[in-house]
């Protein structure tokens, strides 16, 4: 059975160019980049090249890039590192729709006496900037607001949010795991202090990420030990992963236009056809300011897990914000925060595309999905 992959916000395939680039660093060029000998030095040189590639897509300096093991580590490093460096400030401001890597980390600070404020969003998932402005004060150590939401694709005005944070003397961090590689970011033209990225969301391998830390930003290292990453993140580097991330950034920068032409066009075709054929649907997220690859559709009166498993019978991979797929009993915290009614939240399905998604694959979903929705609605006691 063929696989029709529409779950690229969960993870992406490693692109061929990245795979070719990293292969020698497992069995041939396996030296430790910190070693004094030339064998390790060659790996160190390649890591410097990767740092430059990451800095290029972010529009920052090489020295402002710290390699980590994943987006979650980058988020933790930013939030914990800033809080520890500013012990007199006991407030953290975030949004209610963050990824758990941010939300759970922020909430853990309440156990240490911190005031953690979660700013709300409207029905389209758009950040309430007035509420953010009210929440940030002189006691705020860090404001952390995501760049683009992983479930709905809604893009947040992080440059404006950074200005609000700075007006009160707080450090601003953004989790840009879903946006880097899909839409432009430019740290040279922004006030953002810290920004997290994750390799496997942009066709690099899993197990590698990076954190941009603007020069002059005080933070306390989170992992201590050796002097890797200029003493800001100890631990022998995941050389192959880092090299993969660098190459993936280079490829993403080169191909970014595809995201806003080919990928967006296919996403729109899928969305329009599904809405027309299935009826009683709603799009979750901001239709005017959304990642070009993401659509989150709620199918009223049916449940998301059933839809996913029926799609899976045809090899179609998607994701759901319904409670039943997660093991939790409540639907996605993002959809709840947006005020999506329970009748719709339970039946939400996210399709996330990539540059590898083909029109034939989209047509296949358009062919297979409507009969599934019809069948499940026939089963429902509410229809």
């Amino acid at each position: 059975m063929n696989t029709y992959y529409f779950d690229n916000n969960a993870t992406t395939r490693v692109c061929d160019e990245v795979f070719e680039e990293i292969k020698p660093y497992f069995c041939q060029m396996y030296g430790n980049p910190s070693s004094m000998h030339q064998f390790g030095g060659e790996v160190g040189h390649k890591i410097r090249e990767s740092r430059q590639r990451v800095a290029s897509i972010l529009g920052c300096k090489q020295a402002e890039v710290i390699f980590t093991s994943c987006g979650t580590e980058s988020d933790n490093m930013a939030i914990r590192g800033i809080a520890e460096a500013n012990p007199s400030k006991m407030k953290i401001v975030t949004s209610r729709v963050e990824h758990p890597a941010v939300l759970a980390t922020c909430r853990s600070f309440t156990e240490h006496g911190y005031d953690v404020v979660e700013v709300g969003v409207d029905e389209k998932g758009r950040l309430d900037l007035d509420e953010l402005e009210d929440a940030v004060d002189e006691n705020t150590a860090i404001v952390t607001i995501m760049h683009a939401n992983n479930e709905t694709g809604t893009i947040f005005p992080v440059d404006k949010a950074a200005q609000i944070a700075h007006a009160k003397g707080a450090v601003f961090h953004t989790d840009a795991v879903q946006s880097v590689g899909k839409i432009p970011v430019n740290m040279a033209e922004s006030e953002i202090d810290m920004l997290s990225i994750s390799g496997h969301k942009l066709h690099a391998p899993k197990g590698v990420g990076a954190l941009f830390v603007r020069k002059g930003t005080r933070f306390k290292p989170y992992m201590t030990g050796g002097h890797q990453e200029n003493g800001r993140r100890a631990g022998t580097e995941n050389a192959a992963g880092i090299i993969g991330l660098g190459k993936a950034c280079e490829v993403a920068q080169r191909d970014m236009e595809l995201e806003n032409t080919q990928v967006k066009s296919l996403r729109d075709k899928l969305e329009t056809a599904v809405m027309k054929e299935c009826g009683q649907c709603r799009i979750n997220g901001d239709p005017e300011n959304r990642l070009p690859n993401t659509t989150n559709i709620s199918f009223e009166l049916i449940e998301g897990e059933s839809i996913l498993l029926m799609l899976d019978q045809f090899g179609i991979c998607a994701s759901s914000g319904s409670a039943c797929t997660s093991g939790s009993l409540e639907p996605s915290h993002v959809l709840r925060a947006m005020g999506v009614p329970f009748t719709a939240a339970h039946g939400s399905v996210r399709f996330s595309l990539s540059k590898y998604t083909t029109e034939q694959e989209v047509d296949f979903v358009i062919e297979k999905l409507p009969p599934i929705i019809k069948r499940l609605r026939e089963l429902s006691p509410f229809t």
Binding site: R96, G120, E123, L301, I302, E303, E305, S306, L309, M310, D312, Q313, S322, A323, C324, T325, G327, S328, L329, E330, P331, R336, A337, M338, G339, V340, P341, F342, T343, H346, E378, L379, S380, P381, F382
Partner: protein
Amino acid sequence: MWDYTDKVKDHFLNPQNVGEIENPDGVGQVGSLACGDALKLMFKVDAEGRIADVKFKTFGCASAIASASALTEIIKGMKIEEAAKVTNKDIAEFLGGLPDQKMHCSVMGREALEAAIDNYKTGTTQTHELKGKVVCKCFGITEEEIKRIVRENNLTDVDEVMNYCKAGGGCRACRPEIAEIIEGITGSKADAGEKPYEKPQKLTNIQKIQLIQKCIDEQIRPALRADGGDLELIDVIGDEVIVAFRGMCAGCPSSKITMKDVVEARLHEFVSDDLTVVQEK
């Protein structure tokens, strides 16, 4: 992905006895859209008192559909007295087991069957009424229901209870009480798990008003707005919270129920049990 047995997958993809029966002898409906799963079960009884035909409709996940399908296969041909003895365990065993977190689907099957048999016997359409003290306010689960599930399934901790009936899976405030219920039955200490939300012990008037406003903004308003309504906090006088419904809620015949079951319940949960909510005159 859940680790479903082949039989669960088969009953999910090829559910048996789907549909409705014209003039059924017994009908039972449990669950709701808000809870995330619901089941409507109906049957016809023959002259010998056997279930001659049975159909269902369900809203829910794969295990909810499979459990409903399995239930219909189990009870078809049974005498009513035999069917009344079918438990959620029988449904789960018929399917070769369900993941722990999905056991509530089998419980929903048993509840729908009980409701349908009751309807058959009394001739009235049964609605799921809450009898006794409600322990889990998020999912409307009573102390009696929890006790029954603990006894029937030999449950020993709060997470297991949550898996079987959802109690304790929402705001989690009731988890210590569920642990006490388990301890009362098993005689052994039950871990309540994650620390529940703790209401502030003492509030100044300003703190109270701020907390009420925060609760309305975060816990109540999103749900009302989703249905085209809204709520405005007018004043707080002592423990009396004066509110005004707006939009669709303003003219809604159910606004009194919303005020007690949603607004007041949430304020009790997150602010103080002493608050009383009244509408602006």
